[in-house]
């Protein structure tokens, strides 16, 4: 799943199931212990063969096997698959845990399959059960060696050979109270639940020191990640309509702003068949002369400046910044022709401060006229289907100004389509915008922004596609800053207006959300979902009911008058405890009160007579007839209290 080749997964699961079934059959069918003991050797041979012939074995896998960079994953899969044929004993079966954990770790490192966590929890439960059962069996072997079964009656010679019978017998005896495999499974389940809640807390706690290492995701896996990758990382292109979003809550940077703002990371002008291309990118066409940033600054009639700071929490290539950047304090970054900032020489975590400019008040009316020839692509009609053009023209035909046109277009998009972060991908061979507006009618920011840009261009408004971050107000850190996470990754449209420069049009702001598919749901954990909250509340309620009942059961006897004999038993316990403390000799389970008293006699010689009498009275009340009355229990308790005082005094003397 994590390498986008599910067939490999099915192949490996099939192999492991087959191997396990065969191993089980061998284990059950063979009485030859020597042969069964060979499994470890055979397992090692299988692992070594996997290592030596991994390239050949790789070719046997469906879909050409793992990507070459992830040959380790292939090796682990083959060790697991071949090894499962030789898991004839507990020990070898347990050994399978090692490649399994390594495989989970590998998937976790690249983080290309989010559901791996659930698979891992399933694995943990199985592993706990397996360990517990193996431990039980090891203990059974110890029990056999201890000679316990030889002392039992009624065990035939055959029964002594049969582990099942022996286990049954010992379970009825000294193992009756053991916390065994069931307890291990129950404990592991609780642990898993605690981990589900605890892991995000731990991650948040270690945030300041986390993320020091950046793992280069193999190129073949990049498509598996719908994360804030810049065009630098994706070869200068970004596809839209890629299907369900899997962004996570990972913090990206901290920004200090005067108010919530869109943070521009990269802009795109060229669109073709569902893909945006960045002309500023070194990998794209050389269009460096197209300095849209300077043009925008020139265009703003009444500029207003504001300061900002961006502090990357993970190594970043592009620095997200608001509006038109006019200055910044760092030599580590360079400004691209479109005004976006990027670190020189690869991703960095240097804090950047700067100033940006925006119109004092925004009332876009007239679209920018007389754009340089090189910026003609801002109005490019390429990839605008007739249906989309017709729709755009229809909507804007009554508009009085360009600004009005843009507003009408944005409202129409928001009316037509719903926001759904889990929307399915645009089918191949279909125009993404047309499919979004007329068929699917749901999607997330990329399709909203692309539609806005294409429809604006269709009516002659210069527009571009922008990606960056829109911080969530919920992550305000209380000190004028916001923590920006992956889930804040966003796309929007920018239209160029006279006197205004680039004006943001985010059609998602006027669209309705599909239930559970809204912005923010992407990073929402399952336990934050509505149904999960209800379930947790239900569980909490059940817990409270059961907890209350348990407390009641513990507390209730405290208020209920005890039978007299129980109270006398408690009094005797105090009597025996006092003797124990005094004589330093504990009463053995096998000793009667009188035997115990005789045993400690030398230490209580000075008050022997009354101790003996008291013990006799206690014995009579405890075991004699008639049944003592509550008054008796009170009386003897008083006597014992007085005796304890004497005992203490005798010691001090």
């Amino acid at each position: 799943m994590s390498v986008l080749k599910p067939n490999i997964g099915f192949f490996c699961v099939g192999m492991v199931l087959l191997g396990t079934a065969l191993s089980y059959a061998i284990r059950m069918g063979s009485k030859n212990k020597k042969m069964l003991g060979m499994d470890a050797v055979l397992y090692t041979i299988a692992a070594l063969l996997s290592l030596l012939f991994i390239r050949d074995l790789q070719s046997l896998m469906p879909d050409g096997g793992f990507p070459p960079e992830l040959l380790t994953g292939s090796l682990l899969c083959w060790i697991l698959s071949l090894g499962s044929f030789f898991c004839w004993r507990d020990n070898t079966l347990l050994f399978q845990a090692i490649p399994s954990i390594a495989l989970f770790g590998l998937v976790g490192c690249y983080d290309t399959f989010r559901n791996v966590t659930f698979a891992f929890y399933g694995f943990v439960l199985c592993l706990a059960t397996l360990f517990a059962r193996a431990n039980s069996r090891a203990m059974l072997r110890l029990a056999i060696d201890s000679g316990y079964f030889a002392t039992l009656d009624g065990l035939s010679r055959d029964a002594l050979e049969d582990e099942g019978t022996l286990y049954q017998r010992i379970k009825e005896g000294p193992w009756r109270w053991v916390a065994g495999a069931e307890w291990a499974l129950a404990s592991a389940t609780i642990i898993v639940l605690v981990s589900v809640l605890g892991a995000p807390v731990i991650q948040a706690t270690v945030k300041p020191i986390a993320g020091q290492l950046s793992l280069v995701t193999p190129a073949s896996l990049r498509n598996a990640i719908t994360s804030p990758s810049t065009s630098m990382e994706t070869g200068g292109t970004v596809r839209v309509g890629r299907g369900p979003n899997n962004l996570r809550e990972r913090p990206i940077c901290e920004v200090r702003l005067d108010r919530l703002r869109y943070l521009r990371a990269e802009t795109f002008m060229q669109y073709d068949s569902g893909t945006w291309k960045n002309p500023n990118n070194p990998l794209g066409p050389d269009l460096a002369e197209l300095n849209t940033a300077a043009l925008a600054i020139e265009t703003i009639e009444k500029p207003k400046q504001f300061a900002w700071t961006v502090k990357p929490l993970i190594p970043m290539r592009a620095v997200p910044a608001p509006a038109e950047v006019i200055s910044f304090e760092s030599s580590a970054i360079s400004q691209l022709p479109d005004g976006t900032l990027s670190f020189q020489g690869g991703p960095q975590t240097v804090e950047i401060s700067g100033k940006s400019e925006e119109p004092e008040s925004s009332h876009p009316k007239q679209a920018k006229q007389g754009l340089p020839a090189g910026l003609a692509m801002l109005k490019s009609a390429i990839s605008i289907t007739p249906k989309v053009r017709a729709l755009a023209e229809e909507i804007t035909k009554k508009a009085k100004t360009d600004g009005d046109k843009a507003d009408r277009l944005m409202l129409e998009i928001g009316k037509r389509a719903k926001y759904n972060i889990k929307a399915e991908a645009t089918p191949s061979g279909t125009d993404a915008v047309e499919y979004f507006l007329f068929d699917q009618k749901e999607g997330y920011c990329d399709l909203f922004a692309t539609s806005m840009v294409m429809m604006a261009r269709a009516v002659g408004l210069p527009a571009r596609y922008v990606v960056g971050y829109l911080p969530s107000p919920q992550r305000y850190n209380g000190a004028g800053g916001y923590v920006v996470s992956e889930t804040d990754y966003h796309a929007w449209a920018e239209l160029f207006f006279e006197g205004e420069g680039w004006v943001i049009y985010d059609a998602t702001t006027v669209a309705e959300d599909v239930e559970g598919g809204g912005r923010g749901d992407v990073g929402q954990k399952w336990y934050q979902a509505g149904w999960a909250k209800q379930a947790l509340l239900g569980l909490l309620f059940c817990g409270l009911v059961f907890g209350g009942f348990a407390v009641y059961r513990v507390v209730q006897p405290m208020f209920k008058p005890k039978p007299a004999r129980d109270q006398i038993r408690a009094t005797y316990s105090k009597f025996a405890s006092a003797l124990h403390r005094h004589s330093k000799r504990r009463r053995k389970m096998s000793e009667t009160p009188r035997e115990y008293l005789n045993a400690v006699r030398p230490s209580i010689e000075p008050i022997w007579a009354e101790t003996f009498a008291l013990n006799e009275r206690l014995e009579e009340l405890l075991y004699g007839r008639p049944v003592p009355s509550p008054a008796d229990s009170v009386a003897i308790a008083v006597e014992v209290r007085a005796w304890r005082k004497k005992l203490r005094n005798s010691k001090s003397k």
Partner: protein, 406 residues
């Protein structure tokens, strides 16, 4: 081995996943590492709790013979009301016991206020009275990943390891008064030759006493048993002078003497003789049954070569306590010249005395610098010249007796 690796894999994986999670800030790794770390913490807690709050009572047999399988039962109960995983117990057995074939203890799960019994078995290789107290509880979590141990003090337990009878074919010469008919020797002159019955041949029986006719009929060797005479008695004196016990512990010359002594004593008692150990008991009981045999075992269990007196001096000092007509067996491994004087004195008094001589020095692991073995030709000749008939005893016990190895 593989299980240990697998057990080690969990903590190592937890550490590795935690480090990688931290370095990469990868959420999936955080979940995995947390789950593993939580499991390890839970295992630690469970293993720690497993060995706490326990009480013990030990039940061991009062006595057992060397080489017997001894089962020690330990009653365990929990003071804390918790469900526990398995624990095993390692008893603080004294090393002096020279334990062999010690089994592990039965793994148990102690319950609150309910006594649960565990047990283990061992064989002792050395006779003596031994005491020990204390034990160590080894507990693991339910998964068997973490092991903890805790030492507990317990009440003292004592066990007496009795010598094992070592069969020996003792061809006693008639000159020593052995083999004379009751008619000749009189009713009070010791072992007679009047047949008392026949029984199965046992290892160590003399071939001279095989009843061939009965054996031919029965198809198995049968030997004659003899009436020893109502007043016949045998006294055993073992050389216990300091430094005369030679050989490895548990298989020394004194151990061999004890083994032979109990074997001979048991045989004599079965024949109706009285058997005494005058150096070890003041007033020997007159009984001849199982009780007397047990007494003898008990006497010989505890003796050590720790006496300052030489064997000859001891013999003379005890000569007055000997029952009239007793045959005195003196077991000696190291040459002791005082024995010559004692033999001379006692033979003159008419006491019948049989020196049972051991080549003790050949039992030593290393050549000994001091002293000489009793089985030297010169010493034997000296004994013979005085009129005694020394018998050289075999120093190799039958294989089934000295088979005990760690």
């Amino acid at each position: 081995m593989i299980r240990r690796i697998a057990s080690l894999a969990v903590p190592l994986s937890a550490a590795f996943l935690a480090i990688m999670a931290l370095l990469l800030n990868a959420p999936a790794l955080f979940y995995m590492a947390t789950a593993f770390i939580m499991i390890l913490i839970a295992c630690q807690v469970q293993a720690r709790l497993a060995v706490r709050g326990l009480h013990f009572d030990r039940i061991a047999p009062e006595s057992a013979r060397i080489g017997d399988l001894i089962t020690v039962e330990i009653i365990v109960w929990s003071e804390i009301k918790i469900r526990r995983p398995f624990i095993t117990i390692e008893d603080d057995l004294t090393t002096k016991l020279m334990v062999a074939q010690r089994s592990p203890s039965l793994p148990i799960a102690p319950a609150f206020d309910i006594p649960i019994r565990t047990q283990y078995q061992f064989r002792a290789r050395r006779r003596g009275k031994f005491k020990w107290a204390g034990l160590t509880v080894i507990g693991a979590d339910a998964l068997g990943l973490i092991t903890k141990s805790k030492h507990y003090d317990t009440s003292q337990t004592q066990i007496t390891i009795l010598p094992r009878p070592i069969p020996v074919a003792l061809e006693l010469p008639a000159a020593a008064g052995w083999g004379i008919s009751e008619n000749e020797a009189g009713s009070n002159r010791g072992a007679g030759i009047d047949p008392w019955g026949i029984r199965k041949y046992a290892h160590g029986d003399s071939l001279r006493h095989v009843h061939w006719r009965s054996s031919a009929k029965a198809g198995q060797l049968l030997v004659k048993e003899f009436e020893a005479g109502t007043h016949a008695s045998a006294a055993f004196i073992l050389q216990r002078t300091t430094g005369t016990d030679i050989g490895p512990e548990g298989q020394s010359s004194l151990d061999l003497m004890c083994g032979h002594a109990v074997f001979l004593a048991e045989n004599f008692l079965r024949q109706g003789m009285q058997v005494t150990f005058p150096a070890l008991e003041r007033d020997p009981s007159p009984g001849m049954g199982q009780e007397r045999i047990s007494e003898i075992y008990d006497l010989l269990a505890a003796i050590q070569a720790d006496q300052p007196a030489l064997v000859g001096d001891e013999l003379i000092s005890l000569s007055l306590d000997l029952a009239p007509g007793s045959v005195v067996f003196v077991m000696i491994g190291t040459e002791d010249k005082t024995l010559l004087t004692a033999v001379s004195t006692l033979l003159k008094k008419g006491t019948r005395l049989v020196p049972l001589v051991y080549d003790a020095f050949s039992m030593a692991k290393k050549p000994l610098a001091k002293g000489r073995t009793a089985a030297t030709p010169s010493f034997m000749e000296e004994l013979q010249s005085l009129g005694a008939v020394p018998v050289v005893m075999p120093i190799e016990a039958p294989s089934e007796v000295i088979h005990l190895q760690g």
